[in-house]
Amino acid sequence: MKNDRIKILDGAMGTRLQAMGLPLGGIPEVWNITEPEKVTSVHASYLAAGSDIVYTNTFGANSYKMRDSGYTVTELISAGVANARKACADYPGSKVALDVGPLGKLLSPLGDLSFEDAYELFREQVVAGKDADLIVIETMTDLYEAKAALLAAKENSDKPVFVTMSFEANGRTFTGTSIECMALTLSGLGADAIGFNCSLGPAELTPMVKKLYELTELPIVLKPNAGLPDPVTNQYNVSAEEFADCIGELLPYGLIAAGGCCGTTPEYIAALKAKAVAFAEEEKRTDLPEKRKVTGICSSTDAVWFSEPRVIGERINPTGKKRFKEALLNGDMDYILSQAISQVDAGADILDVNVGLPGVDEKEMMVRVVKELQAIVNVPLQIDSKMPEVIEAALRIYNGRALVNSVDGEEKNLTSILPIVKKYGAAVVGLTLDEGGIPTKAEGRFAIAERIVKRAEALGIKRNDVQIDCLTLTASAEQAAVAETLKALAMVHDRLHTGAVLGVSNISFGLPNRELVNSTFLTMALQNGLTLPIMNPNSEAMMGALRAYRLLMNLDQHAMAYTEAYKDFVPAKADAKPGATTPAGSVADETEAKIRSELGDKAAELYAAVLTGRAERGELLADELLSEGDPMTMVNGVLIPALDTVGAGFEKGRIFLPQLMLSASVVQGVFGRVKEYMAKTGQEQVSKGLIILATVKGDIHDIGKNIVKMLLENYGFTVRDLGRDVDPQVVVQAAKETGAPLVGLSALMTTTLGSMEETIRALKEAGLNCKTVVGGAVLTPEYAERIGADYYGSDAKATVDIAREVFHC
């Protein structure tokens, strides 16, 4: 036997049980206990047809799905394993695989299940299934859920683990995971084999299997459906022969196990077995594609391959940034997230995340920021910390494959950080410094780089997963050192053959016209082997240098990206005043006239900009007004009157919600400028008072709450936003801690009004004398009164009026 590695799996279980009388929507796992003979007979039928491995009837046997089943997970899984084992008794060498399917609930941020709770549900299954021979995690459509399951399996069992995911015809899962992201993430986390099951037939999965073969070193598992189902009859359209023929062609592509999913029967398995036997005997060679050599990292949806220079955005980092420090200390997540969005919009491929600051619990903050970031941006993250426990906490909850920044050559760091990188399958930045500091000469840095790579390889981390940082020293302080950095880069590139990271912007510290130095140095470094510049993607000069480099190096073929970026390029005229735009038609009303006479033309124009929703113009005017006068005059004399005008129009039905929000976003932008100004001039932010907002427990629709929040902030209130699906006790805790005089609660469905009532009761029971305001589509003033709320906010504007009443402003 030449190719006898391939094991034959079984076929469908659920549909077979339905044919035996299980109703649609019934719980198949219960039959492990109530109809064990029937379940065992299905296993036996597959073993008779040639299966080497049968999956236990435990696909949905988790505490969540089984909560109404009348049995515990342990009971259902033990019985499931026993049934399979019983059937296997007659087939020596056959194996029992513990089947673990999706939890039936989406993980946060898509749903309301936390990663940690998901892990716990899977752990329970893994422990209950300890008597199985291997574990199969299958039909996963959320990479995050697959990761939780795989971690639970690896940490609570020493059995082999297969992970298969279900893809749609567009090459992605329901939650947007691509084959690249699956391969990068699951290979790194220590799965023994990965692959596909369900959702499509063998023909549709064929190109995906071939692609996966190129992307992973791991063996592949394949369990397709019997083609595609007819939407009306639910009959599958591929015969047993076609099914086996199609998979037979794929056997050389690294397959280790194959079987069938929905619609397949013992007939399909028998046909497949015949193919596997023939394959084992034959000499035929297939020309297989080459495995992809270049490495990469990924989020759950987007992979970034290190095949050419990629930009790592540097802005999520408090070092030298007053406004960012303040945001970290105040937990101002919106500011941090807005930094992420602006970098991604500007072209960052990867975002560096550093939240280390005295006074901030770095581990807690890192986990929070990573969770929030991966909920809104698709680029992969670089976890930037010196603390092993922070790195581990972040890698654990990261949805994808991250880059760790960093490990250096110091012994204690190599021993503490590299094993974490290996466990979670991340890539890692190696800093060329050690106990002796930064070597002056390139040769010294290279030696450290070599040492880091060796240590990484010894742990099983691949060489190309290490990205060396040769360290940028400031040119104004150590001018001669620039050449050493460049030389070290070239040595790493030529002799070590790893990628290279460099924080580029440091080079110009203390010099005028920093962008000029930065972009020149960037080009020089790229030429010497830099592949991952850490930089500010909002710097047009640096992004421009990179675009030009990619063009000149023939990486940007046919200059597509370059011409796209500059298609509207107009050379700057020497006499053009930056930012001067024509003011739009003024909004002539009494308030505007009053502002013009009291505060001048610019103030009046800002008022008009708020009314007409022109954000850029508003911020520009705000900057000018801030340079001339007192911020509070601008806020109280211009912004609030403008908001009042818009609000009055909204109340009268002349202005609609989108326009109200457009004006609100201008004010939000102006407030951003004010905060920046205050931070820069060291002034304390003046607040009209603190308000807590939350969407109540059980409710995950929070757009209404966010509208209210924005408008309240517009009026100068400080909002502590507790988010959505918030437990009553969390609200009580926040109210206690902050002493906030007003708590706003939002609910969008009648089913969650109960939580609203409960939250109000909890606040009262805790003896807090804060006022409550409630709102949401289904609320009525009568209902608000009935559940004991102090105020009913019919819309965002009304809620602001209530806040002004409570705070007497």
Binding site: A375, L657, I700, I703, L748, M749
Partner: protein, 244 residues
Amino acid sequence: MVTLKPINKKEAALYLGYGKNEPDPVILNLMDECEGPLQEACHPSFCYGIFDVQMCSEERVVLSECDLELTGKDIGKLLSGCEKAVLFAATLGSGVDTLMRKLQVGNMPKAILTDAMAGAAIEQICNDFQEELAVQFPNMKQTMRYSPGYGDLPLAIQGKLLETLSAGKRIGLNVTEGNMLTPLKSVTAVIGLRDITKEEERSRLKDMMDSDAVINAELSVGDCSREACAGCAFAAKCHKNDNR
């Protein structure tokens, strides 16, 4: 694959409280800007099952070969006289939720417009499905779409309805503890099918199909437990939209 047509912005404006008013050009432009990213984020899909109505009383409906029981007076009234019931589930996919989260951080005006437009999009998927259904069953008249949470049809059947359709596996649609659908821009519904070739049923049918009567009888502000008007078959007629 379900394809999405250009989004009906009038419908979206309705959800935004415009009523009969047309949004101004600034807002219409913004809507145009929102459409591309929304279309890109949408991966609409639906699944359904057709079941024989085994028993239909005033309080509950039992479907054949199915573990799902529909309870309440309203669903009894809706399906009375129907031979079949269609269980239906549709979603725009989780990409829209991600887009919405991003917009809510960076651009609230676009967030609320995109939200309403996504509502119009899912509505359209539902309407298209019902048109297909009409072609598939030319001799059957459809009732309106009736969703868990309308009237007295419990929201709590949401999970069982999805299980029955294997909607998690087929279109990635799930529920939360609070019986909310995730991804958020999703709809589940029951549609009754009645054989109109049966002559004697015709006149009675006419009364039953007058959905305005059903709406006015069953829904008033505060009664409805739908999360939002988007995707709701009542949206155009619901009181909630009168004075928003």
